[in-house]
Amino acid sequence: MNIVDILEEIEKVDGEVYERFSPRRAAMKQFFNVGKKISLAAVPLALGSMFNKAYGQSTLPANVKAVLQFALTLEHFEAAFYTQALKATGGADFSGSTQATLDKAAIGIISAHETAHVNFLKGVIGADAVAAKASYDWTASGNFPNPFATGNYGVFLAVAQALEDTGVRAYKGQAPALVGQGGVLEAALNIHSVEARHAAKIRYMRNQNGFSIKPWITGGNDSGVANAAAVYAGEENVIQAGITITGINGTPVNVNAATESFDEPLTTDQVLAIVKLFGVS
């Protein structure tokens, strides 16, 4: 992510952005000079505080802020899911196998990314960033067995897949609201593709654990979990911008390939309906 891009884009909406950053350009210059010296780990914090000072807490363009808050709401949920999964007590039921050890390391990588996304978004939104819920309902109001119960490792992977695929679809659905927003859009896209990497990895893990599924979404609900239907609603689409992808231009692209080659977005309402079951609001 390029901070200068973000500032430039905000300037398009708010011509006085540089002036807001106290008190004048010299301060900005100072910030960037400091930026060269401070460790990378401090960047999200520094970035967040700078946005805060510049805008107070409520002057980030309302539609942009709404998108970021929505994204943060989802990231809180995802981060909490993986934090729970990695707990020694009450976590996912990783066996002692070589595969499970590898899986657990992968969940650790994904968990770290989701927590990083939370901190990044909190930094950008500022002081009134939405908070995580105190607890979530991991059974999605009884739609799934408890993914963290003993013997339910397969359920855990299935729910993880549903969450990651939902995340991909959710970010994709928000992108149009960020068109023309430069750096903010780019950051959202940068998170979006990470969620897709996670989704593919979780799917691959399920496959390695004996459940036949591809890293890409084939048809509609390919999760093997009927109650996950809402997560995959519309994924079976084979028409893009009015162009039928199946057999396009005489090629052997079949229906499965046509659905796999394009992931579909979910609207804000569709996503909220899914995560509401987990106690997310």
Binding site: P176, V179, I248, S261, F262
Partner: protein, 238 residues
């Protein structure tokens, strides 16, 4: 090496020229059977003119970033490269390839063909010509060479779409790019897992502090992709 996409295109062009006279009896009556041969030669000329791209850049294609069509053509160029690569991988699999790996490479091949043909149709008259690829540096018989190239192409594709999103003015095109980039990211993750378990989103591509994937601007992308393309790619209005 010979561009597979081009070859297919020419074949399709020939077919349509050969079958067209049958549908237009009057043309056959006047021109006779010899017309088909002449038409084929004419098709060859048209092909050359097409590569001219109408902008006077003989022997190359031009990506004009003055509007969204330029961005779509940029994506079309990358999809052409990816499709040509996987067509070759699927046609001449590396030694001792496993059945699941071959099946997934065939999947990826069709995904990239779908992307390529989608952009071609969406762009219509505005589409750049077929690119001629250069895969001389890739050893298709060797798993390590193929996987390494696949990983490079997929990560490059992800970073390219991530960097191009902000250039788009149309929300519809932005959504379409979003629909494709996540599939490229799925490919990237899978291929990375084949090379090294749990490298699906390692620090080569995702920064550890903010958890953000890479973006590259078109110039950086084309500097890398250019190593695999013979056709000159001109960039203007970026």
């Amino acid at each position: 090496m010979k561009n597979l996409h081009d070859e297919k295109e020419v074949l399709q062009e020939e077919r349509s020229i050969l079958t067209a006279p049958l549908q237009r009896r009057s043309f056959l009556q006047f021109a006779g059977a010899g017309a088909a041969g002449i038409a084929l030669i004419a098709a060859g000329c048209k092909k050359d003119k097409h590569i001219d791209d109408g902008a006077g850049n003989m022997g190359g294609v031009t990506l004009d970033f003055k509007d969204d069509l330029g961005v779509l053509n940029y994506a079309y160029a990358l999809e052409q490269l990816e499709a040509a690569f996987y067509i070759q991988v699927a046609a001449t699999p590396y030694a001792n390839i496993s059945a699941p790996e071959l099946a997934y490479f065939k999947d990826i091949q069709f995904h990239e063909i779908a992307h390529r043909e989608f952009f071609k149709n969406a762009l219509g008259q505005a589409a750049i010509a077929g690119l001629e690829v250069d895969f001389s540096k890739i050893n298709f018989a060797d798993r390590t060479s193929v996987l390494g190239t696949a990983k490079a192409f997929e990560d490059l594709g992800v970073s390219a779409y991530n960097g191009a999103g902000k250039l788009l003015k149309s929300t519809a095109y932005l959504t379409l790019a979003g629909k494709i980039v996540s599939v490229e990211a799925r490919h990237a993750a899978y291929i990375r897992e084949l090379i090294s378990p749990n490298s699906f989103s390692n620090v080569e591509v995702v920064d550890a502090v903010n958890g953000l994937d890479k973006s590259r601007d078109p110039k950086a992308v084309l500097a890398i992709a250019g190593g695999f393309v013979k056709t000159k790619i001109n960039v203007i209005n970026l």
